[in-house]
Symmetry: C2
Amino acid sequence: MRRTELRPYVLDDTLILECNIAIIELKDAQETDVKINFEAQAPPSELVHNLSSLLEATEGSDVSFKVKEEIFPAHKIILAMRSPVFRVKFYGPMRDESSRSITVEDMQPAVFRGLLHFIYTDSLPPLDYLDDDEYEEMVRHLLMAADRYAMERMKYMCEIKLCGVLHTGTVATTLALADQHHCSKLKDACIGFINSSNRMVGVMASKGYESLKRTCPSVIADILEKAAKTRRI
Amino acid sequence: MRRTELRPYVLDDTLILECNIAIIELKDAQETDVKINFEAQAPPSELVHNLSSLLEATEGSDVSFKVKEEIFPAHKIILAMRSPVFRVKFYGPMRDESSRSITVEDMQPAVFRGLLHFIYTDSLPPLDYLDDDEYEEMVRHLLMAADRYAMERMKYMCEIKLCGVLHTGTVATTLALADQHHCSKLKDACIGFINSSNRMVGVMASKGYESLKRTCPSVIADILEKAAKTRRI
């Protein structure tokens, strides 16, 4: 301690040296260090990894699905936990306890595999190995599968993906899909896309347009009305 | 366009007005808007919520645990997916397929409830309703339960919590626990805590010290050696 920090004075017949002493609490410092050190190393959640391993190992599987020629083992409780449709099927009042093998019609094995992937991991399957057309086609089928099993979040994530790849050649097909599966945001995005930058002529020449007119006639009116409102026609 | 932005000059007998024109691509702008708008609204993962609902509703439960006087229904596949001990019990070569009711000895119902909470949600149960002593006691028991069922992440999270509440009165008890359950980081933290700020006398006077000496004599040597190394004695 430097001499200038001492404040000496005399009181009665006593010399008093007044000084401030700071006590550094080692305890606090150490505890904080230990805490920070630990939290930095806390491992991330393992739930998705555990579920993903379960799907791969199919340990304890109590149901299997036949899709075309492929067999997919699965777990009733996981399916029911994630999809209201599976919940009713396996645990509803009309359930068939003995049904351990279920045949899935009108779906490609790759799409069912993608559905199981989402059920177990809460994310869409990897799609980057597909070319642009295959990608769009696969996402459309995943959206249909999600709707069939009432997987709302999966359906929404497919909508997001389709919104990102709108183009003149296929937007009519996507719009028909959006209308049939009640995807209002995707439908709005398709109509907005068609009505921007005079794309209508190109859309009318595309393969999906005739089908759109036939299956979803009311959507044609939606396009016209939206165009009129935004003063494009 | 302002006149200053035009750069007029004469070339041969022609007056040239040079200006920059920026073309705003409506297509890109629109697509990006739609994409951002969608992603912002993408709902968060539902896995933890689904698992949490499953634990509460106990729908499709295929096993139940009797802990003292309380009964806890659960799902073998979820338990096995999360704990190697349950995996061997339910799906290992020595499994007993018929066992649907299991009695758990040497554990309080609240601790088992906390274990199930972690198994289904990947997080420790809420503990803020407990006072300081009860909190520390509960976390110690959760650590023991985690170790018993080989839930490594749960055990580690209990270690972190105990590191945050080290104090002279109970650190000997925590150190004995850390030693018995092979929690090396918690053990180091306890020894570091004891050796800082001359706490040894207080620790020796605490309830847990005699028990520590008796059950984990080698730890006493660890404290002494660590203290010697850091030149505190």
